[in-house]
Symmetry: C2
Subunit: 301 residues, 2 copies
């Protein structure tokens, strides 16, 4: 069974959803339904469902479709193991090599094709993504330039300072609306985090949780430019965090503070919520983030 990039992305997401409890055990997983949700056609979805069945993460009933098995936790554990040992995708590989100074600041596409054995399209695709995430840019003529913006621990502080300037003010926007549904859902997710054994979760999942919370809150401002700006710095932050060890103790504090902010918002106390958000971010800034630096040890401290 071949599996294209898209279909494997879909299986990843499906597993995440099953693992996080968004899709319950015993539930029917329809191809059309999934396709609609992700905005793609049924073809790659069916491939993904096939793959997951082959790995025992879904059971299949002829002509009736796929279902989430009742006893899935063991299989999920196994899958998590596999994930931990998985090779990084090309994008992460390039990002990593840049962060640890394995590639020069300016490169030609040719250089990357040779070094990594990528096709012309793949090189382009990856560089486009890096451009979008803000750490690469096309040179005027031939070649590309990588930006040092994501390389240093200082960037981390700068990102927090930036967030400190947009997140609390976004909550004070005149168009800010208290969407109960969003608040309830976020409360559910944060509480779920606190209840779950953090040790068993993938780093990516943990990091994503924090980002999603803040992005959902800033989304309530009704001003998309705040959201876009936050997403942008979050993506860059994750790029760096990807390389670092996560302090899971710190995450508990983080979730607790998130819940406190939610509580204030649920009471309709936006001003205090905004203030608490400021404190929350300041705290993260002071503590130098919930991660420990594993690279850039050669930089000036």
């Amino acid at each position: 069974m071949r599996s294209s990039e898209l279909s494997s992305r879909i299986s990843q997401q499906l597993i995440q959803e099953i693992a996080s409890g968004a899709i319950a055990a015993g539930q029917h997983v329809g191809a059309q339904q999934v396709a609609d949700r992700y905005g793609v056609s049924r073809t790659p979805v069916r491939e993904a469902l096939n793959t997951l069945e082959a790995r025992g993460l879904l059971s299949r009933q002829a002509n009736r479709g796929y279902f989430v098995p009742e006893n899935i936790s063991d299989t999920l554990e196994q899958w998590l193991e596999d994930q931990h040992n998985k090779v990084a995708d090309p994008y992460q590989q390039l990002a990593n090599d840049w962060l640890v100074n394995q590639i020069p600041e300016e490169v030609t596409e040719q250089f990357l094709r040779q070094k990594y054995g990528w096709t012309k399209t793949k090189v382009n695709e990856i560089l486009v993504r890096a451009t979008r995430e803000g750490w690469a840019e096309r040179k005027e003529g031939y070649g590309w330039r990588f930006l040092p913006v994501a390389k240093t621990p200082e960037s981390f502080d700068q990102i927090y300072r930036f967030r400190l300037s947009i997140e609390p003010t976004a909550m004070m926007e005149p168009t800010f609306t208290l969407n109960r549904k969003v608040l309830t859902e976020q409360r559910r997710l944060q509480e779920h985090m606190l209840e779950t054994d953090l040790g068993s979760m993938l780093d990516e999942t943990l990091l994503a949780n924090g980002s999603i919370f803040h992005e959902e809150i800033i989304k309530l401002s009704g001003n998309p430019f705040f959201l876009i700006a936050l997403q942008r710095v979050n993506r860059m932050r994750r790029l760096m965090e990807y390389r670092a060890k996560i302090d899971r103790e710190r995450l508990v504090v983080q979730c607790t503070e998130h819940l406190e902010i939610l509580e204030l918002l649920e009471k309709g106390d936006v001003v205090d919520a905004s203030y608490k958000m400021r404190q929350h971010l300041s705290g993260a800034l002071k503590r130098k983030s919930p991660i420990a630096w594993s690279w850039a040890s050669d930089s000036d401290t």
Copy 2:
């Protein structure tokens, strides 16, 4: 004489610099120097210089290089005439068609290739740029999606609200440094604007002037994330302004306020400068920007 895309971009920029006074009359324009400044090789620069000489915008002395003629204003006038009648570049064409609802929200690359007669690479290049500027994104599977974020007058207000939240605070960053050289240069540019006949300048030049001032100031914060965020919304703003008529009266007020901010900064009074910046932006927000909307008249007012 053939002239590649890059070399014509360079000539455009050079003319802008000459017109805006950044390169003074009589000054020597070295190929190497220009190449270094733009980060390209001398080849396209030489092409550009050649073109400009052919049009009489530069004079050439054999083996000594190119110089800005003393009496250049007439030639510049002529060139400005030509520019006004120039066809829009493909990117602006697509942006325009999207803004005036001439293309659907979701398209395939094929569709664009047919509609505009672009090559595969060109389509890709333009979509990448649109992605970077924030109003297009790749769909999961095949196809692209255009985002409505840049389409409405409301976006304009939202951009100003966003700037209101980052620009004054950026000036209060602990790493903010008063770079005299930058301040002097900006003062020079703003004063030059006020002295020049605004009617004779290209819209792009006028719009660029405002953006550059704010970007240079925010750059002084020492936190690149503020700059990146501002550049991003400015690009989108310009996309919209490109379609609208500029109120040149308003620009005089703008320049004056810019000079007031500079004055405070030169005195080292950062707090008041930050406050003035806030006022400056609020003013623009209230006055609904120095442009008049020429499209989207069908939207809810």
